[in-house]
């Protein structure tokens, strides 16, 4: 490799200008990829020769109890995340509403439900009957809290409400990412505040919100495993029920890992689809 100074004759310069262009070869990347592959192979070998009875893993992979757990995990993810997104959007709108009462309610909500561990909140909801033995509107209807606060309901409220506190920050940053000129343009065509949010601002904010919300959905899939503590029959809970009986601890943890990873993989694919949809009307992104 040599420095190529400006030639004296324009003819030489012309010759150089027509030489073939060869892209950089990135030899380092190939070496690095080879090292990574080797390490992965060693790791797989360790699991294969280790003390795991792989046939047992295969035997329980599609066991009805495990399949039931998958459905319950998915159900809880959808329920808690729906509640979380609904609350998140509501709280974020309250934060930018310009109404000081709503703003303070939103602030306190985020402060409390982001401040306590999710597991602790689950336990509090599950044991709510100790504070409110009955619930309802006096004279209209009333029920016993213990009967209503099933593991499903307690887990959904606990996970969904704390999720709302996080999601509200994601939604808020999405709303703030939309240019002020968009709010003004919407106003000049006679839109009210709510119309502006729904038709103009939120759809644009979605582009910014989808990656972190996708991240939170994936996080929620795994967070639902906390519900095993209050006897909700999701994947981990059901795997534990089996290994308490047959003592195949590692095998069943492998089964659970497999399914969590499978669910997360599918969700990641869905996420990139959604991102592409909301990126319409914008130029593609580049690498650094």
């Amino acid at each position: 490799m040599t420095d190529t100074p400006l030639p004296q004759s324009s003819r030489d310069a012309h010759d150089i200008a027509h030489l073939e262009l060869v892209p950089r070869r990135h030899v380092g990347r190939k070496v690095f990829a080879a090292i990574v592959l080797l390490l992965v192979a060693l790791l797989i070998r360790a699991f294969v020769v280790g003390q795991i009875e792989w046939p047992v893993v295969g035997q329980f992979l599609f066991a009805p109890v495990i399949i039931q757990g998958i459905w319950n995990t998915l159900l809880m993810t959808v329920a808690a995340m729906s509640l979380g997104i609904a609350l998140g959007v509501l709280i974020a709108i309250m934060r930018i509403s310009g109404n000081p009462v709503l703003e303070y309610i939103a602030l306190v909500y985020v402060w409390i439900f982001r401040g306590a561990p999710a597991l602790l909140q689950l336990l509090l909801w599950f044991n709510l009957a100790l504070i409110f033995p009955t619930m309802g509107i006096p004279g209209l209807f009333e029920f016993n809290t213990v009967e209503v606060m099933t593991p499903f309901v307690a887990a959904m409220l606990g996970l969904g409400i704390q999720q709302g506190a996080y999601t509200s920050e994601v939604v808020r940053s999405g709303l703030l990412s939309v240019d002020a000129g968009q709010y003004e343009a919407a106003r000049t065509i006679g839109m009210t505040g709510m119309q502006t949010l729904r038709r103009i601002v939120l759809p644009q904010a979605m582009r910014v919100m989808v990656p972190p919300v996708g991240n939170e959905v994936i996080s929620m899939v795994k967070l639902t495993s906390l519900a095993s503590v209050i006897q909700y029959s999701e994947i981990l809970h059901n795997a534990q029920v089996i290994y308490y009986a047959n003592t195949r601890v590692l095998e069943l943890l492998m089964v659970a890992s497999f399914w969590y990873l499978a669910i997360v993989t599918v969700l990641s694919l869905i996420q990139s689809r959604i991102e592409r949809y909301y990126a319409r009307g914008t130029r593609g992104r580049t690498t650094i």
């Binding site: 240019d179 000129g181 968009q182 003004e184 343009a185 919407a186 106003r187 000049t188 065509i189 006679g190 839109m191 009210t192 505040g193 119309q195 038709r199 103009i200 759809p203 644009q204 909301y278 319409r280 009307g281 914008t282 130029r283």
Partner: protein, 256 residues
């Protein structure tokens, strides 16, 4: 011109903190009139324009547009602020075109134009589309109806923005420096559309630095400086024989 008064501002004052952006500004614009507001930057031109459709709230004074007091309802000796919904209704009749276009980036040209008519005026999608296609044809962009703003040049975006404002069938359109963000070679196509609009009898208030447009198209010119409206009159007179020495100085500076 003796047609009815469409916009009237009286003693409008507006401060940002301690900065007095507007100081007792008064202006009258008649139906079908094209009025340009000129003046140095920071003189309050854009702020005044934005007060007319309530993008800025005024501290004192009054503005009427389309026969209505803007932003307030009189009850006895007091003016009560209108609700979000009532203000939104008043804005329907006042179109606005921005310096930076502010098209909705997630909507195509056509969708930008029909958004207001369908969502706010409740027009049927079919009727709104037909009207929007007519408008896009009028601004010379019928072939870009399906394109997103990011696929259009600045001049094309601004023409779509004008079509969007017209989609609401307003009786008045405000232009806030509509050509200032454009590359020089794209200014003419936007001014042509504005000429056409003026010729069709649309009432327009235009904050601009385009002296050619002010001279050739507008009926009246208002000169603002330091938050005050210094001079207002027929464009030919204000631009050639201004009464006020500050107007004369400004014109000398921009025509150099």
């Amino acid at each position: 011109m003796t047609s009815e008064i469409l916009v009237k501002a009286v003693d409008v004052c507006k401060s940002f903190g301690t900065f007095k952006a507007l100081n007792e500004v008064g202006l009258e614009v008649r139906k079908g009139e094209v009025s340009c507001i000129i003046g140095p930057s920071g003189s309050g031109k854009s702020t005044f324009l934005r007060c007319i459709n309530l993008l800025e709230r005024i501290d004192s004074g009054a503005i009427w547009a389309n026969g209505e007091l803007i932003g307030y309802r009189r009850d006895g000796n007091r003016l009560y602020e209108l609700s979000d919904v009532e203000i939104a209704r008043q804005r329907r009749g006042i179109g606005m075109v921005f310096q930076r276009f502010n098209l909705f980036p997630h909507k195509t040209s056509l969708e930008n134009v029909i958004e207001g008519p369908v969502q706010v005026l409740g027009e049927s999608s079919k009727a709104a589309r037909e009207h929007a296609m007519e408008l896009l044809k009028r601004v010379g962009l019928a072939d870009k109806a399906g394109n997103y703003p990011s696929e259009l040049s600045g001049g094309q975006q601004q023409r779509v923005a004008i079509a969007r404002a017209m989609g609401m069938r307003p009786s008045l359109i405000l232009f806030d420096e509509p050509t200032s963000a454009l590359d020089p070679e794209l200014v003419a196509e936007v001014l042509d559309v504005m000429n056409d609009l003026a010729a069709s009898g649309m009432t327009m208030i235009v904050v601009t630095h385009e002296m050619g447009f002010a001279r050739n198209v507008s009926n009246t010119v208002a000169f603002m400086d330091g938050g005050r409206l210094i001079e207002h009159g027929p464009s030919a007179r204000v631009l050639t024989q201004p009464d006020n020495p500050r107007t004369a100085d400004f014109l000398k500076a921009v025509q150099r």
